[in-house]
């Protein structure tokens, strides 16, 4: 499998690896995928009082493209409002990383992870 330069870069130097406390204020956690399918992504956002995402962290079990997709979205969501973050589409992720067709599901999973994290944040806000 030939990987793009950008996938390799994110794989070799993943951005924002780590975790926030799930119960911390302003933190939304999204976990998507399943071990049996070969990918599990956990994306966390930390949202300020103004509704802007101040920080993001991820952990991913999966192939290089899955790791790169989640690493990329942690960079992209930072500085966006939660509503803006929801506008990130898998096609943008796939295009940025030049994912081959068999790896498109990685970008879909990353989009789902953002949605799940935002939903969790909103739920906690009541």
């Amino acid at each position: 499998m030939a990987y793009s330069e950008k996938v390799l870069d994110h794989y070799e130097n993943p951005r924002n690896v780590g975790a926030f406390g799930k119960e911390d204020e302003g933190v939304g956690t999204g976990m998507v995928g399943a071990p049996a399918c070969g990918d599990v992504m956990k994306l966390q956002i930390k949202v300020g009082k103004d509704g802007v995402i101040e920080d993001a962290k991820f952990k991913t079990y999966g192939c290089g493209s899955a790791i790169a997709s989640s690493s990329l979205v942690t960079e992209w969501v930072k500085g966006k409002t939660v509503e803006q973050a929801l506008e990130i589409k898998n096609t943008q992720i796939a295009e940025e990383l030049a994912l081959p067709p068999v790896k498109i599901h990685c970008s879909i999973l990353a989009e789902d992870a953002i949605k799940a994290a935002v939903a969790d944040y909103k739920k906690k806000q009541g």
Partner: protein, 403 residues
């Protein structure tokens, strides 16, 4: 100086030993005669070279040279043995037995025979990868004509109890075929004692060239086959086609070296394998696939939990190894051999087969140990599954959203 990638995939193929390559060359350029040419010296000398090589192959397995038939490799030998015996003995019965963990060259040949009207039983193996002899006995029917069991498994390196299976088959008058592609030079094979009727060999797993192999066909009691390749009647009619003298000479030389050096070589290789095993078992949540005792000295098949296979292969591209995942991932073929071991308790793991060989050094093994420690650590740091396990979450209890 280390050369990258470090080759630890000797069960896939081996480099041709330089002594073997040397022995082959004159038979390409100078002594190019057709061994079947009876009317001149070019043919006579080629024929002698072929017969000398046949003797070397026979000696490694304590057989008679007349019992060795040249083929293009173990796949062809397996096809010739299984189809040839099934078709010859079909008047006696139509039932065949093999293992689920056999090589595709055996399994797909069985499938083809099923399409032709034969019936096949594919036996499960035990958790250690070895055949259950009582299950084998129970599977035998009055119309069973052939049993095929590999000597050494290509993925997990376990050695099947060939002597015991031979006794069972001989007593019932069932033809017993053994795929020994992975066994030559690794385990002692004595066909004067083993009750094996047909045995497949390959040159390129034992430091010989690719494209050449052999089939042992027992003379006493005589195993009968129907030829699968028709033509000039070479190899006593069992396998027509002009003999590839240089390839045959290479296989003979490779098997001579194996016979003379296997004892010391296996000791050295085993020490390296054990060093690798010890070095990798230090890593948390790892386990060895296949029986450790009944195993060839050069094979280590090890699983790392909570690490995804493709990312692991990406991470360790400095070593050339084979991988298999017991679960399905997007691009890694799941290993039917590992699945047959019944290890479904681990939802998420990846497995690596390391196979060490004649040219592996201690430095290479130490580099590999160090690399695996670093990369497994890095991938687990990235893994939400590992985090959950560290927090005491039982992954089986989690409701995963399938996608």
């Amino acid at each position: 100086m280390l050369k990258f990638p470090i080759y630890l995939d000797y069960s896939a193929t081996t480099p041709v030993d330089p002594r073997v390559a040397q022995a082959m060359i004159p038979w390409l350029t100078e002594h190019f005669g057709n061994p079947a040419s009876r009317s001149h010296a070019y043919g006579w000398e080629a024929e002698k070279a072929v017969e000398d090589a046949r003797e070397q192959v026979a000696r490694l397995v304590n057989a008679d040279a007349k019992e060795i038939v040249w083929t293009s490799g173990a796949t062809e030998s397996n096809n010739l043995a299984i189809k040839g015996a099934a078709q010859f003995y079909k008047g006696k019965g139509k039932h065949l037995i093999t293992l689920k963990t056999e090589h595709k060259a055996v399994l797909d040949t069985f499938r083809e025979l099923e399409r032709q009207g034969f019936e096949a039983t594919y036996l499960d193996v035990q958790e250690n990868g070895l055949v259950d002899l009582s299950a084998l006995k129970d599977a035998i029917r009055p119309d069973t004509i052939l049993v095929s069991v590999m000597f050494v498994n290509n993925e997990i390196g376990v050695i099947q109890p060939i002597a015991e299976i031979g006794e069972i088959c001989r007593e019932k008058g069932i033809v017993f075929h053994v795929d020994a592609a992975q066994a030559t030079g690794k385990v002692d094979i004595d066909l004067s004692k083993l009750k094996v009727d047909l045995m497949s060999f390959s040159a390129h797993k034992t430091y010989g060239p690719k494209g050449i192999g052999a089939l042992y066909v027992r003379r006493k009691p005589r195993a009968r086959l129907e030829a699968q390749m028709h033509g000039g009647g070479h190899e006593r009619g069992l396998r027509s086609g002009t003999l590839a003298t240089h390839q045959i000479v290479g296989m003979g030389e490779a098997f001579r070296i194996a016979r003379e050096e296997m004892k010391t070589e296996n000791e050295r290789v085993r020490a390296l394998r054990d060093r690798l095993m010890k070095g990798l078992q230090d890593i948390d949540a790892t386990y060895i696939n296949g029986d450790v005792e009944h195993r060839v000295p050069h094979n280590l098949n090890i699983s790392f939990a909570y690490v995804e296979g493709e990312s692991l292969i990406m991470a360790i591209k400095d070593v050339a190894v084979s991988s298999g995942s017991a679960c399905t991932s997007a691009s890694l073929e799941p290993s039917y051999v590992l699945r047959a071991l019944g290890r479904n308790d681990e939802l998420a793991h990846s497995s690596i087969r390391f196979t060490i060989g004649r040219f592996t050094t201690e430095e290479e093994v130490d580099y590999t140990i160090d690399l695996l420690h670093k990369k497994i650590g890095k991938l687990r740091e990235l893994s939400p599954l590992w985090e959950m396990v560290q927090d005491g979450v039982d992954l089986d209890s989690v409701q995963w959203a399938a996608h």
